[in-house]
């Protein structure tokens, strides 16, 4: 006998929506827009964080840089490596040559790539380390006539033939990167032979990296600054998200919009007290009335929220969506190639649910529970 109760209540909820189609459409549009605003901000911050984590997961356990009174300075490779190798727990040490240089297009990051460098190219091929006089450039760098001019200060510019381009999806890490032969890189950056920008250290147990850092500092004869991978990750995502913190301000009007929608919904449902009173007078129980209001709200809210989520996802991840990189990094055309792991996506869904769906459904269905405390005739007399 009770078999069709929920189905019938569901059908009646759909009928209630059709009784006031314009209300449902307006509410749906509001919810979709609010969800899209919130989802965009939340997805962006999660994606930046996840992408930064992904990039830095392949970075060295520790990076050792030498400092002096003027800031960073180059580090003698042989002496530095032999000191570091004396510390128990160190697996490998390798010198890195990198730094900022000036081009016609503005500052770039120059990296010297040794023979062990290899990267998958967009077309499925491989990008090999450039030969002397050649360069592999990041997605944000334009080559003019297949050449890139890098300034050497008073000595004038030096030209490099662009031999390859890094794939677009590396933009988050390699947007303004110029990869050169190590000797070219050292020349461009003014690093003397036998010196490096820093030393990258791998340890046996990554978890011990923080403990090893002070021991490495003690083993070296110069003042050094040692950065662990966790610190680098924190610095990177922190810097990116600071630039994007303006976007988080979009959450404020969105939250206010949810509050307004909740208040309007509560008032609108209170006006429906007469219908609640009538249903109860005709033998409906509080649970029946609650279910109708819940289903009615869910039928409007769930598709709207899904639509808003899809719009937010598209704005952040749609191929060619370049506004996040304009906002976060100041890039003009390049999409950032963001990545979101499944846990991050679930977190965004949960946050959207907590911030929008649950308050709206509670506001829509709550008054029916409150009305259940009143006598049906009082509701019939007070409602419209």
């Amino acid at each position: 006998m009770k078999r069709y109760r929920v189905e019938n209540v569901l059908l009646w909820a759909a009928r209630e929506i059709l009784r006031r189609p314009s209300d449902a459409v307006m509410t749906g549009i509001c919810l979709a827009v609010i969800t899209a605003m919130m989802a965009t901000v939340l997805l962006l911050s999660h994606a930046v964080s996840d992408t930064a984590g992904r990039i830095l997961s392949v970075s060295p356990d520790l990076v050792v840089r030498r400092i002096d009174a003027g800031g960073w300075t180059s580090i003698p490779v042989d002496e530095g490596m032999s000191c570091i190798r004396t510390v128990p727990g160190v697996l490998t040490v390798r010198p890195r040559i990198w730094g900022a240089a000036r081009t016609e297009q503005g500052p770039v990051t120059v990296v010297g790539a040794g023979s062990d460098f290899q990267l998958a190219a967009a077309g499925g091929g491989k990008i090999l380390p450039p030969e002397p006089g050649r360069a592999v450039v990041g997605p944000g760098i334009e080559a003019v006539d297949g050449r890139l001019l890098i300034s050497l200060g008073a000595a004038g510019p030096v030209a490099f033939a662009v031999a390859g381009r890094l794939p677009d999806e590396t933009a988050m890490a390699a947007y303004d990167l110029v990869i050169l032969d190590p000797s070219d890189a050292a020349r461009v950056l003014g690093i003397a032979p036998g010196f490096a920008s820093d030393l990258a250290v791998e340890v046996f147990h990554a978890a011990e990296a923080e403990v090893l850092a002070p021991e490495l500092a003690q083993a070296l004869p110069w003042p050094v600054r040692i950065i662990t991978r966790a610190e680098a990750a924190k610095n990177y995502s922190g810097a990116v998200l600071r630039r994007g913190s303006l976007a988080a301000l979009a959450l404020l009007p969105a939250v206010l919009a949810v509050l307004v929608l909740v208040v309007v919904t509560v008032r609108e449902r209170a006006f429906r007290a007469k219908t609640v009173g009538l249903f109860k007078a005709l033998g409906w129980q509080t649970s029946d009335v609650f279910l109708v209001h819940l289903f009615e709200s869910a039928m409007t809210a769930i598709p709207s929220v899904l639509l808003g989520l899809a719009a937010g996802y598209g704005l952040v991840f749609f191929p060619g969506a370049s506004w996040p990189s304009r906002l976060l990094f100041g890039w003009q055309r390049q999409a950032p190639g963001l990545f979101l792991d499944p846990a991050g996506a679930l977190a965004v869904l949960a946050e959207i649910g907590a911030l929008i769906l649950i308050p709206y459904l509670a506001a829509a269905a709550g008054p029916s529970l409150r009305a259940s405390l009143a006598d049906p005739q009082d509701l019939l007399e007070e409602g419209r």
């Binding site: 069709y4 019938n8 209540v9 059908l11 005709l282 033998g283 409906w284 129980q285 509080t286 006598d375």
Partner: protein, 228 residues
Amino acid sequence: MENEICCRQVSMVRNTVSGGRRQILKHICARFPAGSISEVNGPNGAGKSTLLYVMAGLLRPTEGEVLWNEAPVSRWSAGHRDRWRRQVGIVFQDLHLLEDVTALENVMVPLIPRGLSVGELRRKAFSAMERIGAADLASLPVARMSGGQRQRIAIARSVVNTPALLLADEPAAHQDRQGKDLLRVLFSDLKQQGVTIVVAGGREPALYNDGRTDFSFEMENGELKGPS
């Protein structure tokens, strides 16, 4: 006794629009036996509608109690009264129809949470409308109907759930002669099935002016006199 409803010292005090309090029902004592038709007549404002709403469990009396088969319905919690009301049919004086849905859907409303299939819902609702001669109105929106037609829809809605108790507030107010005849036939059929019927009328009996009710009460200034 099955399907018997009694009022025992029922009083009702309600707030007035001007902020005062007015006693609408004064120590009502009455018994409405199972399978009987009772009529409560009296002038406007005498308290007839309030008495029906108290008997239907829509309002709690300020004093006294309403007994359904000796059970104190008026003392029950709201949830229990909601469940009990499933065996009560009510025709409101204001009708309280849903204006923007069809007549058939209005009649189906009491059955929706009962767990019947949609086909069965439609069949029962259509059957109730046929009993009051309103089957041809099934697909029309209520907003487009005349007062008499709307009242027939409200009556069909009150009997669609095969009630044990039917409380009708001026059910013949907008009915022509044919409508009143149909209503009398319907009430007679229900009485044969053991339904207890209480009808509120105006100053003069509108439905049973030939004295064919089982019990007739007079109500004035919240006091009930009778039966006669």
